[in-house]
């Protein structure tokens, strides 16, 4: 009964749609990125206590958000594939993982660079930092597991199980600043409270976050197209060049 509802989930139907969407998202990402960086480096004022170094926030925070968000999306696709046995879901999860891992690395590296001037050290073993590091390990584990299994269908299902189990790490990252008292600061952007930072800073961060979002969509779509072609080599529609 799901067959109609999830008709778009066939790789064949999805391939051309994805092709058309990529450029839209790609251009939006570029434009938003330029705008965000402009706000970050030219509009936003110098911070009273941290000087210029605080500007890392415009990359750090969106990257950290994306790293967690993409994991949830990836796990969502993976779970969908496990339940409904749709081929496309596993490919989507595979396509999202490298981008998620990339944002995790960015969050870690910008955090490291920021830590030196503010905390006086690159790295401390605090709960937020450590759980973010383990998010990276989860992404890497997901990719390693998929890489290690020959049969793509089996790899999809095994990867999905891992991704779903790893979801427990996300609340740990997010709430770690509340659960343990750490060096890292707590959430300052919240839906329930008035933001505690300058409006331009907030705007810059949100624009950068949107850019990251668009970028993720564009890159994942491009990657999923490549995966579709690689996996469906035998399928007639690929060979006949309908793409």
């Amino acid at each position: 009964m799901f067959s109609n509802l999830f008709n778009f989930a066939s790789p064949q139907a999805f391939y051309p749609v994805a092709g058309r969407m990529i450029s839209w998202f790609g251009w939006s990402a570029a434009l938003l990125g330029v705008a965000g960086l402009y706000i970050a480096f030219f509009v936003a004022p110098t911070d009273a206590t941290q000087g210029e170094s605080y500007r890392i926030i415009f990359i750090h925070v969106p990257a950290a958000w994306m790293s967690m968000f993409l994991y949830l999306v990836m796990a969502g696709w993976a779970g969908l594939g496990l339940v409904l046995n749709t081929r496309l879901s596993g490919m989507m999860a595979s396509a999202l993982a490298p981008t998620g891992a990339m944002f995790t690395v960015v969050a870690l590296v910008t955090g490291l660079l920021w830590g030196k001037p503010t905390w006086g050290t690159y790295w401390v073993w605090d709960a937020r930092l450590t759980s973010e590091l383990f998010l990276l390990f989860l992404y890497l584990g997901f990719m390693a597991l998929k890489e290690a299994i020959d049969d793509p269908q089996r790899a999809d299902r095994a990867g999905a199980i891992l991704a779903l189990v790893g979801v427990v790490n996300i609340p740990i990252i997010y709430f770690s600043v509340q659960w343990w008292n750490t060096l890292h600061q707590g959430a300052s952007v919240s839906l329930t409270r008035a933001p505690s930072m300058a409006a331009t800073m907030l705007a810059g961060m949100l624009v950068m976050a949107l850019a990251a979002w668009m970028y993720s969509i564009a890159v994942s779509l491009a990657r999923v197209r490549a995966i579709i072609v690689a996996r469906e080599q035998d399928a007639a529609w690929v060979r006949s060049g309908t793409r």
Partner: protein, 222 residues
């Protein structure tokens, strides 16, 4: 259900009994890891006491990890696993029994020897009790998560290392709360919250670990 658990448990324990070396290896490894530190760090009593809980917990994690490759791989190779999946017994019961057997042959011995090691590190009496409680609560978590990791990597080349890569991040909370309980008790803070967090962890990982293991085993055989 209970009958199935008892059946598989008896069988696994019998096999373990016939290969005593495996369980012993884990125990010896644990002792070596734990006793290496006084050697490596230049035994200052104060320092030792401070790191004792951490060292013992890391030892427990690694020992659990070391014993994981054996959990399902042999059963897969000789066809026992497929017999278990097509058997008249529910797969979750089989998996519960296998995990229980794993805990009885690795986690429990570790829990029993941990207070001895703590003594070696100069932990006071009440901290020893907390340590015992924490290890008793925490090692089943290790077995549960570990089983899921072992099942996911079944039949994969380099499975042992891949398993480590997959499960160690998930082991971390157990380590944090387990070591935290002992450290808290050392500094005169009540270890209760840490221990109940450990209990919560067990409660979460029981269904999650079971589900993941069963699902992964079916995938491995497909």
């Amino acid at each position: 259900m209970t009958a199935a658990i008892v059946l598989v448990l008896r069988r696994d324990l019998l096999v373990a009994l016939r290969r005593k070396g495996d369980a012993l290896n884990v125990l010896i490894f644990f002792v070596i890891v734990a006793s290496l530190f006084p050697l490596g760090t230049g035994a200052e009593p104060g320092q030792l006491r401070a790191i004792a809980a951490g060292v013992i917990w890391v030892g427990a994690l690694l020992a659990a990890l070391l014993s994981l490759p054996r959990l399902f791989a042999a059963d897969l190779a000789d066809g026992t696993l497929e017999q278990m999946v097509v058997s008249a017994q529910p797969l979750p019961a089989v998996v519960v029994a296998k995990i229980a057997a794993h805990w009885l042959t690795t986690g429990l011995p570790l829990a029993l020897i941990a207070p001895l090691l703590g003594l070696q590190y100069g932990l006071p009496g009440d901290a020893l009790l907390v340590l015992l409680g924490a290890v008793l609560l925490g090692t089943p978590v290790l077995s549960l998560i570990g089983a899921a990791g072992a099942a996911l990597t079944l039949g994969v080349r380099g499975a042992a290392v891949l398993t480590g890569l997959l499960v160690l991040p998930l082991f971390v909370p157990a380590l944090v709360f387990g070591a935290g309980a002992v450290t808290a008790s050392l500094s005169g803070i009540a270890p209760g919250p840490h221990l109940s967090l450990l209990g919560a962890l067990l409660a979460v990982s029981l269904p999650l670990g079971l589900w993941a293991t069963c699902a992964a085993l079916r995938v491995a055989l497909d």
